[in-house]
Structures are given as structure tokens and as C-alpha cells.
Amino acid sequence: MSWYCYAVAEFAPGNPAEGLTGLRDRPVSAISEAGLTALVSPVPDEEFGETVLQANLESLPWLEEIARAHNAVVDEANRRTRVLPLRMATIYRDQHRVREMLAEHSAHFAEALRRVRDHAEWGVKIFASLRSSAEEEEPADGRSYLRQRLRQRKARDARTDEAAGVAERIERELAQLSAEIHRHRNQDPALTGREDSNILNLACLVPDSSRERFLARIEELPEAAGIVVEVTGPWAPYSFAGIS
């Protein structure tokens, strides 16, 4: 049996893990040290031991299941108190090692917790259609085929440039309403399953006091045609938990 660690919170008298269910239906418990609390649950070595864990992580259904369970615990804990999520699959041999980890990184955790206190992470994705909507007729010969390809490529480049301009403008605007901003890699169509392209994928750390203003501004965003805005959140501050 090892201990899977989900997140770290500031120590408080109430148990932030109360009633939470973690991986494999085991209860989440709180381990405190150095003014901090780690949220952990026991995991079986047959599934989370080093060799088998590496193999499991490469199985997409297993990865999805664990990722969702990890996020569910982090998300619920974050509704109760602000937490710093740990990266998936941070596992310790015993509870003593969890305490050592808290003590070792206590200064960094405290600093990061101060930074995200009274803030939440919001995800903002912008999608735009970069494909030509017009159906073109079959080229009559090789030369016209090449001309058509060139024309299509130029049109696509122009749309891509325009989309990049829109994305930059939106990023600048949202940065003004956020304490910090992080640009994630644009999501691949293999993951989004969408026809249009993800041209901007932002995580914004927004003070709770400006949440309404931030969301209201996003409602007004799609001024340009062909743009779809998707907002997710509030998330635990995953993208801003990094110890800087």
C-alpha cells in the first residue's frame, strides 16, 4: 500500500478531506505538517507500484480514469479551501514520507498558496474556422490544380494570420483582468474532435473579486465572425501552482 497525494492546502482546524472518496473508492485523508495539509488516499501496489504504474499510464482508458478521479478530488477540495494540485501520480511509500515532503517544500508551498488565495483558474479557448468554406470545382489539368492549391494555401495562411491577430488581442484584453495568465498549447483536433481549429488556449488566474467582470467581458468577446469561445472553470489553480 502506498499513498497517492492529490493536493496541498494550508493547515486549518477543519478536515478539508472529510467525506471525500479517492482512487479505487478509498477515503481521502488529511496529513498535516509544517502548517500544511496534504490530501492523500491509499493505493494498492499491484496497480500503482513502479513497474506496473508505468505500463498503466500508457493505457489511455486507465490514464483517463485516474486523471478524472484525481481532478474530482482536487476540484471538490478546492471548493472547500484553496488547494495547490500536485501533478498526477505523485506517490509516497508511507505517511511519514508525505510529512517529510511537506516539511521539505513548506516555504515554497506557503508562497504559492499566498499567490492563489482568493483567486480561481478559468480556462478560455478560442476556436476559429480556418478551412475554406467554398467548394471549388475539379481542376481541369495539372497546371490549374497547382494554381488552385497555391490559392487555397494563400487563403489559409491569410485566415491563420487573422486568427493569430484575434487571439493576441483577446489574450491582451484578458491579461488585464487576470492576476496571471498562462498560454497552454492549442488543443489538437484529435483531442477536441472539432472541425474548427483551436487558436488560443488560455488559463487565467482571476481574482474572485473580478470574476463577474472577467466573465462579462468574455460574453462580449466574439466580435469577429466565425469565432467560438469556450469557457471552463472555476478550476483549482493547476496552471499557477508551479513553484517559481
Binding site: S2, C5, V8, G49, T51, L53, Q54, A55, E58, S59, L60, L63, E64, A67, R68, N71, D75, L84, P85, L86, R87, M88, T90, I91, Y92, M101, H105, A112, G123, A128, S129, S133, R156, R159, G165, V166, H184, R185, Q187, D188, A190, L191, N201, E223, A224, A225, G226, I227, V228, E230, V231, T232, G233, P234, W235, A236, Y238, S239, A241, G242
Partner: protein
């Protein structure tokens, strides 16, 4: 300066996704739990595939499965890179190979 305009074709609009809980999309969750969060050494050392490499792997897998189905074969069941390459060297090699595939895929998409 005039505002850039994108071609029409899709309805414009804002969609509020279901949030960060159970209904959130897998890509949103993976890019956070795999690539973000605090990275500290646990007692169990694993090599996590980052979201970009994971995406390529999914794409290759989907493409391979489709092609293999057409041909009626199941070679991927025996391909260690698609089942359980558990040693680090295998992963490093695999990462290099996937990065090469990514470059190729980028080139092809730019051609479209």
C-alpha cells in the same frame, strides 16, 4: 486599425462548458493534471507522457487501428510502443519517434 475579421461559417457565440468537474472535457483535464500542477519527486518514479506526445499517440493509434481494421490485422497488440514499453530507454526512443511524426504531421497540415 480595423479589427480582423474571420470568415463566417460557424455561429459565433460563447459556450460555458460544464466547468471543472466530472463533465469537463478530457483534453482540458489532461493538460492540467499531466502537464501542470506542482511537480515534486514522489517515491515512485514514473515518466509521464506530456499531453502533446499523448495526442500524437492517440492520433497514430486511431489511424493505425482504422488501417489495420481495413486489412484485418491486429499487429498493434504485439507492438510494445502501443502496449507497455516500460523501460525508460524505450520511452525516450518513442518520444523521439513521436516528435519526428509530429514534425511530419505539422508539415502535412501546413500543406492542406
Amino acid at each position: 486599425m480595423s479589427e480582423p475579421s474571420l470568415p463566417a461559417g460557424r455561429p459565433l457565440g460563447v459556450s460555458r462548458a460544464t466547468g471543472s468537474g466530472g463533465g469537463a472535457n478530457l483534453a482540458d483535464i489532461l493538460e492540467r493534471v499531466l502537464d501542470k500542477g506542482i511537480v515534486i519527486a514522489g517515491d515512485i518514479q514514473v515518466n509521464l507522457l506530456d499531453i502533446e506526445l499523448l495526442t500524437i499517440k492517440i492520433r497514430l493509434l486511431v489511424a493505425s487501428v482504422d488501417r489495420a481494421k481495413e486489412m484485418g490485422i491486429d499487429w498493434w497488440e504485439h507492438d510494445p510502443s502501443l502496449s507497455s514499453g516500460s523501460r525508460r530507454n524505450d520511452l525516450l526512443e518513442e518520444n523521439e519517434r513521436l516528435r519526428a511524426q509530429l514534425e511530419l504531421a505539422r508539415g502535412e497540415r501546413a500543406e492542406q
